[in-house]
Amino acid sequence: MARINKNESRAPRSMQISSFPELDDPKAIGATITAEIDGKDVKVPMGTTILEAAKKLGVRIPTLCHHADLCVAGVCRICVVEVEGQRTLQASCAYPITAPIKVRTYSAKVRRARRHILDLMLSKHYGECYACARSNNCELQALAKEYGVDKFRFGHPSEPLFEVDRSSYAIHRDMNKCILCRRCIRTCIDLQEVGVLEVIDRSDKTRVATFMDKPLSDVICINCGQCINRCPTSALRANDPTDELWAAIDDPKKHVVIQTAPSPRAAMGECFGLEPGTPVTKELNTALRRCGFDRVFDTNFTADLTIIEEGTELLLRLYKALVEKDETVALPQFTSCSPGWVKYLEHFYPDYTDNLSSAKSPQQMFGSVIKTYYAQKHNIDPTDIVSVALMPCAAKKFECNRPEMTSSGYKDVDYGLTTREMATMISEAGLDLPSLPQSDFDDPFGQATGSGVIFGATGGVMEAAIRSVVELVCGIKVENLFDHADVVPVRGFEGVKYAELPITAVGPVPEILAHLVPNWDWLKGATLKVAVCHGTANAHRVMEDIKAGGKFSECHFIEFMACPGGCLGGGGQPIPTSPEIRAARAKAIYAEDSGSEVRKSHENPAVLELYSKFLTDGPCGHKAHKLLHTHYTPRGKYIT
């Protein structure tokens, strides 16, 4: 039998976008076709789906299984339309226009079919809307309203049919709410190539399940939460700790501090009706204080710290490998700030855990600094500190629960909170975020640089690292190499980016690093090879290339982010998500960087103070190692 197509998309063909026959007539290639939709003509390129063509005309066709980030499934059938000459209704998301056609999008047949489909979905959809985390942000609810569903024609479950899977620190699965649109599956298998969820069984017993129906905590889920962002209902949601958090806030003994990451600040506005890409950083500070948080800090502070630690680690690895010819040194060094990526590597490439930077993620560094340095400085008993992290991320919930994340002597970070959960807390406190006055972060961890901010976008860690390496090692101003210190080659949403940075000069290395190696001249003439990659599907590609000894195996430093677009597209961000929304958030993040007074991690005065007063043996020193570094667990992909 033929063995071809090995490298094609792994998505089941039934789920792939329709292609259309190639035309022999060269003039027809790139041709446009006129489609008549609801009596209006629209010219579209050959192969455009009816759904896209209708969108162009401003005709809205309802969808459920369709998602801008995913391949076409055509399974929910809510988008059916009447095509003249066709016996049956056609799914507009999967029907390519290859000849002039006439379409009716809301004929009696179509309306009745859609209503029936909704009724059928509701006959299996257990639960009440007002007791649901996604109420008002639920696509099924919105369609029910749109189509005037006023009763359950085919019944409604009075008892739950499935037990809710609450095993995971990060993600809860409630199959009672599932309408089998399979977006989560296409997210997990195609978009992320992790492969935790798949359709199991057939007929009306069909359900979405994990391997052998194991709890989510026992399978290879990396907690990226991308499935949550694409679930139209609340079948998938993050593990919500807000009740416990409110209790901590209400407890006068507790000192509740929160750190906020840059991505939630660029997206939170979406939960309050603002356009995507409207930054609300300073309004958010006010909101958090009014919610009752005792201190509001900026995660960017430890993002800067991460750059120093991770950059130092890289230089040390390079020294060992290039100068001492130590062949045991693992290169390229991989970033470790994305907990989804870390777990992905532990499962799929357990032999490469040594390549991960041992530096903790900014969230976890913050946690250990707060319960040590900050507690000492302000004379607070660390057991009374509740450390909260506002993150764009579902996997951060898992990360803060890793057993090794207790180097402060306590649980370094108590709660990881998603953007969505924080938005709910703010609403609960009766606050309208956009209309709040602006306020600044609290000291001492309120000072951050633009380099910390751009951690939120894919390429950001690399850009921050380059800014610091150039200045610290080469002794030249980064602005001399890149206009306005914008390292454009590592920006943008391209899946994998590669860049080379020739080190032409080695300047006087500042004191903070100078003592690490006897002499820095070995770097002169070297070319730093770096790569940036986001989404685990792209990580898969890069890792396979490394395994095969390809171009990426020659890199020195690679930034990996588990989520498409980086943190701004994280699994804890507001729903919905789409390429446009993520682009808008990225714009907000780069704007914040651009407007920052200090834009380079090594110039962050608070970071420098931390090294001079607390981590006195410097970057990658003994104390830093204890508090700011960690280790990993090769997990493998076999499940027992």
């Binding site: 089941p12 039934s14 059938r77 009745r112 017993k205």
Partner: protein, 393 residues
């Protein structure tokens, strides 16, 4: 097990190797022209003209093409393919080889349903013999540059895999879930390559058409439904079995032939077909009237039609692939409705709602299974209303 066939089948009059020997000297266009002249439409039930399918695949671009024989005969009441594969398998293999010549394929696959696993040994033996006789392999029958071989792949118990795109999914190691169409298999089929999927009977007739000439085939049948057809007759009749009858035969004529003249209804086309009551026995079995893959189930005067509907709905509830909403949930609702009717607990308004739902399923389901699954329910409800309502048992 024995095969009960009645009368002489045309297949027994065509000598093995006869068709292939003729086709060997024909150009691909001539083979397709012969199919076109014969007027044959696919024998699986959908009735797509065979010549058009072959022609599309021949014209499609692809570095490799495939001929797939759909031997996933799962339609309730259909067993003629089993009979053909038992008694005339060489005609099927020849048909595949001829199709391969026509479209330019090198690989043929027989997708045999798991339930027919006992046929594999015999079929494998025959394939080995064909290879020895150079009816398969390199330069088939000395025709330079024409290499073709056939392999058998087994199903594993899924009715929906009879749908051609689901079958291809299954061959590719996927769940047997039908694809979005377009693109069609003739363009993007197995492994993304142009693929023709033909029913067992279609391929066997193709051999006969080449051997006996298209005119012979074209002379039988009606205007729009050419040729003879095998019928699988079962149920309440005296002589169940496989019959070769011309297309266009009326139900009454057919019933007289098989000894089922006192029937109160017949199910034409299996579970996905329709239930025809006695009053319509003058209707023709042909693409212009009642299309079918050849399944005829006879219901005697004593049969309870609601029990029949119940059996069909149970079948579809189990066999729906579960992919699209109308079919997955709709069939379960129709079965629930039949149970309510049996208990005498279904209101007339809910029955109407269910019938409307059935129509939605016909219109909005993704594949032929979902589109035809409510047929039996709808036709039984509309033709035997007096058996439906107000039941006390």
């Amino acid at each position: 097990m024995q095969n009960s066939t009645y009368g002489n089948l045309t297949f027994s009059t065509v000598k093995p190797g006869e068709a292939l020997a003729k086709a060997k000297n024909m150009k691909p266009v001539d083979i397709i022209a012969a199919m076109s002249d014969s007027g044959m439409k696919g024998r699986g039930g959908a009735g797509f003209p065979t010549s058009i399918k072959w022609n599309l695949a021949a014209a499609a671009k692809g570095d490799e093409k495939f001929v797939v024989c759909n031997a996933d005969e799962g339609e309730p009441g259909t067993f003629k393919d089993r009979v053909i594969l038992t008694d005339y398998p060489e005609l099927v293999f020849e048909g595949m080889t001829i199709a391969a010549m026509a479209i330019g394929a090198k690989v043929g696959i027989v997708y045999l349903r798991g339930e027919y696993a006992y046929l594999t040994k015999q079929l494998e033996d025959l394939l080995a013999k064909c290879r020895e006789e150079n009816l398969l392999g390199k330069n088939v029958l000395g025709k330079q540059g024409f290499d073709f071989d056939i392999e058998i792949r087994m199903g594993s118990g899924a009715y929906v895999c009879g749908e051609e795109t689901a079958l291809i999914e299954s061959l590719e190691g996927q769940r047997g879930e039908p694809r979005n169409r377009p693109p069609f298999p003739v363009d993007t089929g197995f492994m993304g390559r142009p693929t023709i999927v033909n029913n067992v009977e279609t391929l066997a007739w193709a051999s006969c058409i080449i051997a006996k000439g298209p005119e012979w085939f074209n002379a039988i049948g009606t205007e729009k439904s050419k040729g003879p057809k095998l019928f699988s007759i079962s149920g309440d009749c005296e002589k169940p079995g496989v019959y070769e009858l011309p297309m266009g035969i009326t139900i009454a004529e057919l019933l007289a032939e098989v000894g089922g003249a006192n029937a109160k209804a017949v199910q034409i086309g299996g579970a996905s077909g329709q239930c025809v009551p006695k009053t319509q026995f003058d209707r023709q079995i042909a693409f212009e009237d009642i299309a079918t893959g050849g399944s005829v189930i006879v219901f005697g005067p004593e049969r309870d039609m609601l029990t029949v509907a119940h059996n069909f709905m149970e079948f579809f509830v189990e066999e729906s692939c579960g992919q699209c909403t109308p079919c997955r949930e709709g069939n379960a609702k129709l079965l629930e409705g039949v149970n309510m009717l049996r208990e005498g607990k279904c209101s007339m308004s809910y029955l109407k709602e269910l019938c409307a739902l059935g129509e939605t399923m016909q219109l909005a389901s993704k594949c032929g299974l979902g589109q035809s699954s409510p047929n039996a329910f709808l036709s039984i409800v509309s033709n035997f209303e007096q058996e439906m309502m107000g039941r006390t048992n």
